[in-house]
Amino acid sequence: MKRRDFLKQSTFASGMFFVPQFLKAFEHNTNAIFSNKKVVIIQLKGGNDGLNTVVPFNNDIYYQQRNNIALKQADLFKISNEIGLHKSLQPLQKLYDKGFVSIINNVGYPNPNLSHFRSTDIWQTASDSNEFLQNGWVGRYIDFIKGNPYTAIEVDESLSLMMKGKTQNGLAITDSKVFYNSMENPFFNNVISNYHDAHLSEHNLGYLYNTMIDAKSSAKYIYEKTKTKNSSAEYPKNLFGKQLKNISQFINSGLETQVYYAGLSGFDTHANQTNTQARLLNLYAETMDVFINDLDKNNTFDDVLILTFSEFGRRVKQNESKGTDHGTANNVFLMGKNLKKQGLYNNLPNLANLDKNGNLKYEIDFREIYATILDKWLNVDDTAILNKSFSKLGFI
């Protein structure tokens, strides 16, 4: 029997089997939510130069290695006798002083990969550097709690590997209204009512149908839940500002979404880094300041933890074009109201002890941060999601 005939003939028999799964996508009795906590993940894409973000201004090696891009004390605001933050981050100073910021230094992983794409995959899938996974740590979280597509939302045009699970993917949305309207198009209802189980088993077509069912079942919920809540806060008028404004609108309207993901691009500063990085860090800081105040005003900040990472840091020694090449370990920023360890979580990397490529040797595995968030914040079994056990940190 040919496959197609087989599928045709078995439609009657298997139809019943498929229907419940199909309907399930449309119901909104959410599965048991393990926690009402939320995590907002931000990636500084391209590899932010962490050493010019959190700066050891008394360190001679720093100035020797970076003679024309090193930041002087006047370019920084001090957070200790040794360390200052890039002046562009000034909008975060108030939050920092209130204890809403924790900076974890020297975060990385064994055998670092210096490719943007591979290292991003490693961070997104929480894999070892020689292990290739087809699903992300947030996707596996959705799987674990048997969540909905909207358990995790990426505010972007397409979905990153991080948000893809083994059985369930998160959603990519830029505008909930456009999303809703396009899904309410009579044409879609028509497609859905004409669907056959055979479609679901076909390789690519099935993928499209499943993705559509996810999107359709979430669009209405998200739109109706969020339509009345429009943020009045003034966000910077650019893509990143818009992304964070959307996230605040989603959070403040009580959406059950637990993980949000957004990104700011442009940190790959191989040449003439100084101005580019200053502009981007300022954009980041201003936006985060507005975002956090917006959440705080709506009494939602208590339940939000913000994680900012970059796929890698940059080389300690600058290059001849006033820029920096790809590096390894980097700092990670955590922001929230309930941080147990505020300010600097640990010491800065040792600039005198580099690997054979002139890069930093990491001290904290990034998966220890994920494990801590999963275990202490989202209250789930981190080992099941990360496929391995990692020690927990004390920032929450």
Binding site: S158, V178, F187, V191, H270, E320, H326
Partner: protein, 368 residues
């Protein structure tokens, strides 16, 4: 040749086929159809951009009016992008144009300077079926690429590794087939590369690192071309390119046996035309499992629909808008890894969705 096979062939190496053309070709043998295909792409019709606004300007004037000229140039790049789209919709050298689009998403690059953007685009076109060795060397000396991956800022005192890394990771070998040390040595060898105002390549001796380098175990005072030659000595390079071509033109799932056959053909002399001829003449290219199983990229889709059901976009700029909505703007890649392919561009983007499903419902074959 069987109609279904001709359709498959034209979906992959072109942008679909009109019923009339299909009827004509189905009377011919497979060998003749393929010969005709290559014959039609023998020549290269350059795609011309409008650079007249720069004519007759002295260097002084150019410097003085820099801001203004940059603005005009940006506009001209957009026009050039539209011209490319128009070309794709009316190609005479079908295979060449399809390969040009393929290479544009391999040697990913962007320039806002119309002179550089035009030149680069035509380097892709001229070499699309040529020799891969010459191709890589030319790409490495194009003004657009020298700027995009900072190779013109790569100087001996402290090299810039951006180009050296992507050359191996994305253009020739793929991840994990070289060491960090190889990248450093390669970057040293490419020091001194630069270009003149109008884009001609120049080698600045005083910025070049003349000392010995060790690259893939070889010692010598290498320059950029030497590095490319050594990279191409690695069989992995032939494999990497063969796999990429297989994924794009045959099936996203690799069959090792087929790749091995391709590598045997390609590694000999890195002739792209021979490789493509081998693939298109192979039996496996026409196997059932390879037909109708690939999701087209947005551009392939837009052009493909037009081949079968001609449509017209009234306002030229709307061409760019449609491309933006679908996530693939010609001459404007998201980053050096290029546009997402296959399923990945459809992931729950609502607009793409509406469009994709419309296609599935109305004319299913157009998406795959």
């Amino acid at each position: 040749m069987k109609s279904a096979h001709i359709q498959h062939l034209y979906n992959r190496i072109g942008f679909g086929i009109s019923p009339k053309e299909l009827a004509r070709l189905s009377k011919k043998s497979k060998k003749n159809v393929i010969n005709e295909l290559f014959k039609a792409s023998e020549n290269t019709t350059i795609l011309q951009g409008d650079t007249t606004f720069l004519n007759g300007k002295s260097y002084k004037e150019l410097k003085k009016e820099r801001k203004k000229l940059q603005k005009i140039s940006r506009k001209k790049v957009k026009e050039f992008s539209i011209a490319w789209f128009t070309r794709l919709n009316n190609p005479t050298e079908i295979l060449r144009e399809k390969m040009t689009l393929f290479w544009a998403n391999h040697f990913v690059c962007e320039s806002k300077n119309i002179l550089y953007a035009e030149s680069y685009n035509n380097v892709l076109r001229k070499n699309a079926l040529g020799n891969f060795r010459d191709f890589v060397k030319q790409v490495s000396k194009e003004a657009a690429m020298l700027g995009y991956l900072n190779n013109k800022q790569n100087k001996k005192k402290s090299p810039n590794e951006n180009f050296a890394r992507e050359l191996m990771e994305l253009f020739t070998l793929g991840q994990d087939h070289y060491t960090e040390k190889d990248i450093k040595e390669s970057a040293r060898s490419f020091t001194g590369y630069n270009h003149k105002f109008k884009g001609e390549f120049i080698f600045r001796e005083k910025h070049h690192d003349n000392k010995e380098k060790i690259f893939f175990g070889k010692k010598g005072n290498f320059n950029g071309d030497d590095i490319i030659d050594i990279i191409l000595e690695q069989k992995q390079c032939a494999k990497f390119i063969s796999e990429k071509i297989y994924r794009h033109f045959v099936n996203e799932n690799i069959k090792t046996k087929h790749i091995d056959e391709m590598v045997d053909v390609f590694y000999k002399d890195y002739n792209i035309e021979s490789l493509m001829r081998f693939v298109l003449l192979s039996k496996w290219f026409y196997e059932e499992e390879n037909i109708g199983t690939k999701i087209k990229s947005p551009i392939e889709l837009l052009v493909g629909i037009n081949t079968i059901v001609p449509y017209k976009i009234e306002k030229k700029n709307q061409i760019l808008l449609v491309q933006k909505l679908l996530g693939q703007i010609l001459l404007s890649p998201p980053n050096v890894a290029g546009w997402k392919t296959g399923r990945n561009w459809i992931d729950s983007n609502s607009i793409v969705f509406t469009f994709a499903f419309y296609l599935v419902k109305q004319c299913r074959n157009s998406l795959f």
